[in-house]
Symmetry: C2
Subunit: 340 residues, 2 copies
């Protein structure tokens, strides 16, 4: 039926050389005579031969690809501009090294299944996803992994910011502006991983930071209106509407810009001038138009750093740092106002 691809054997047969010779002609031309190389390459051209990269990689025991394990459904994960900037960072480093970047959505809703079937040389995870079963699989598959924003209480290589410090800064800015009726919108902690309940997650770290800030004003969590929202505008809207039903904060503090943007939309609709401060920060260019006050962390830098670390691990370099810290900064916008 369908004509078969030409293989290395076809070229060998056609030229009268051996498969080995053909392989050499492509990969180490110096290993055989100039004449042979020429003949072989010519025959290859005639027969439309291209070595199959899959067979090649299989033979060489590699994939030439890094994998990014999405913690949730693709719509949710990739809908977050922060995650997008991480993807960008990883892709840049991959490109530099001649690698591809494989985005791996949960398989049958299971990150574990996805990890089993990933055909890549190493994995990067986003958020808290590395539970025991996944670690087991990766160990068995001898697949290196780097975690971005993962729990920090284990021996997995990770890249993150000082979440505690960043959160403290975020809330302190709010308190400095005089806000006292504050709605605190956290990220759901254990959305993906159960093991996270005992791990030191990003959310927990940030809460410690909030606590520190509160203490400086002799306040505690009990003085806040608290709720949760995943990092999507949709959830931000929902939670903002719910909160405004039952109370009237002067400021919303969120753990993601995505949620903050949803909240802003609700506020705009109501012509309310309640303050909002987000977390993440969009990349430079697209920043300016949205004047959201936020804590900026560079997803791109995180992506780059994690890919860099992962390549170290893949190449078996020993001196790879277990933790990589990325800087953060307060980014002034127009959505955090002084309380009069």
């Amino acid at each position: 039926m369908k004509a078969k691809r030409t293989t290395i054997q076809d070229i060998a047969t056609k030229t009268g050389y051996s498969k080995t010779a053909v392989s050499f002609a492509f990969n180490s031309p110096s290993r055989i005579s100039k004449e042979a190389v020429e003949k072989i390459l010519e025959a290859a051209k005639e027969l439309d031969y291209i070595p199959d990269p899959m067979a090649r990689n299989f033979s060489l025991g590699r994939h030439m690809a890094l994998g990014l394990l999405l913690p949730q459904r693709a719509e949710l994960s990739l809908g977050n501009p922060y995650i997008h900037s991480v993807v960008q960072g990883i892709a840049e480093v991959c490109q530099k090294r001649g690698y591809m970047l494989t985005i791996i959505p949960p398989l049958h809703s299971s990150v574990t299944e996805a990890a089993k079937n990933a055909t890549v040389d190493g994995l990067i995870t986003l958020g808290v996803v590395i539970d025991k079963s996944i670690r087991g699989i990766l160990r068995r598959r001898r697949m290196p992994i780097v975690s971005i924003d993962g729990a920090a209480d284990d021996d997995i290589h990770s890249v993150c910011i000082d979440d505690e410090g960043a959160a403290e800064l975020q809330l302190r800015k709010v308190l400095e502006k005089g806000h006292r009726k504050i709605a605190m919108i956290a990220l759901p902690d254990d959305a993906y991983s159960h093991s996270s309940s005992t791990s030191d997650t990003v959310v927990k770290k940030r809460k410690r930071g909030y606590m520190k800030a509160l203490e400086q004003y002799s306040m505690s969590f009990a003085d806040l209106i608290t709720d949760k929202a995943a990092a999507t505008a949709e959830e931000g809207k929902t939670v903002a509407s719910a909160i405004l039903e039952r109370s009237s904060p002067t400021c919303f503090v969120t753990m993601s810009d995505a949620a903050a943007i949803g909240i802003l939309q609700i506020l705009e609709k109501r012509r309310s001038n309640i303050s909002v401060i987000g977390f993440d920060g969009l990349e430079e260019e697209f920043f300016q138009n949205s004047k959201l006050t936020t804590i900026y962390q560079s997803g791109r830098q995180k992506g780059e750093a994690s890919a860099e670390v992962l390549f170290h691990l893949i190449n078996g370099e020993a001196d790879t740092p277990l933790r990589t810290l990325i800087p953060y900064s307060f980014c002034e916008g127009t959505t955090l106002r002084e309380v009069l």
Copy 2:
């Protein structure tokens, strides 16, 4: 040195069954006795065995991955939010089918090389990249391809909008508002592909649309200030600065929001209220904060449609439409003002 992964052979040896039996235990348990399945799976657990997905895919002649061929360096491609939404759309469909999405940056700056080495079941391209050499490679590799925003004068499956109509609409809106001193910022046409010079590219189609709109006002291209900019904020800034040096348009018309945003930044800095209209449209949520007036096309829909078509091709379905048309719409913002 490093302990080897356990293979199917290890399980076979340990249980006394054959490789075949082990394979069946995993893939079609009904083919062998219940007892055998149990023993084998238990042994597999003990020995920490997981079938190697690469070997599996190799054997089955597939990859379980779709590829997205980036037309330019990753920073540029992925920096464009429109492209990001395309990625999102593709990823969603991949997820639904249990596939991965492999992002393939140009290899050694060559898209052709990247196409040679892509280990995927099919490719999606963005913009004009399918020149002769790439087509040859894909033909030899028997790799199906779908082109988004590609030239439409060939036999490659493609997904696009009615660019001519959309461009006409865009410029007509501008003319209706009374603008006559218009700066038209096109996309560079043949940035990636030389063959495009004879193909009916997106840029050419849009120019025909502009022409139609101009004719309705008895104008021609000669009445416009024209220039080019790639789809990045950076290039938008550069070109805006250059144009403002030598002339004073009342409106900038661009072929990408990315460039439009750069232009807006320059105008804001100058406190100028020159109008701007873009092309692409950011996804819903993140739209509202940037009030850019633009022609909206859903990158996500394009991504979904192209992946859907590609899966049809991979599965050898015959009834696959050669052209898929996605809708577009005018999106009112605040950056296109009436000329007094």
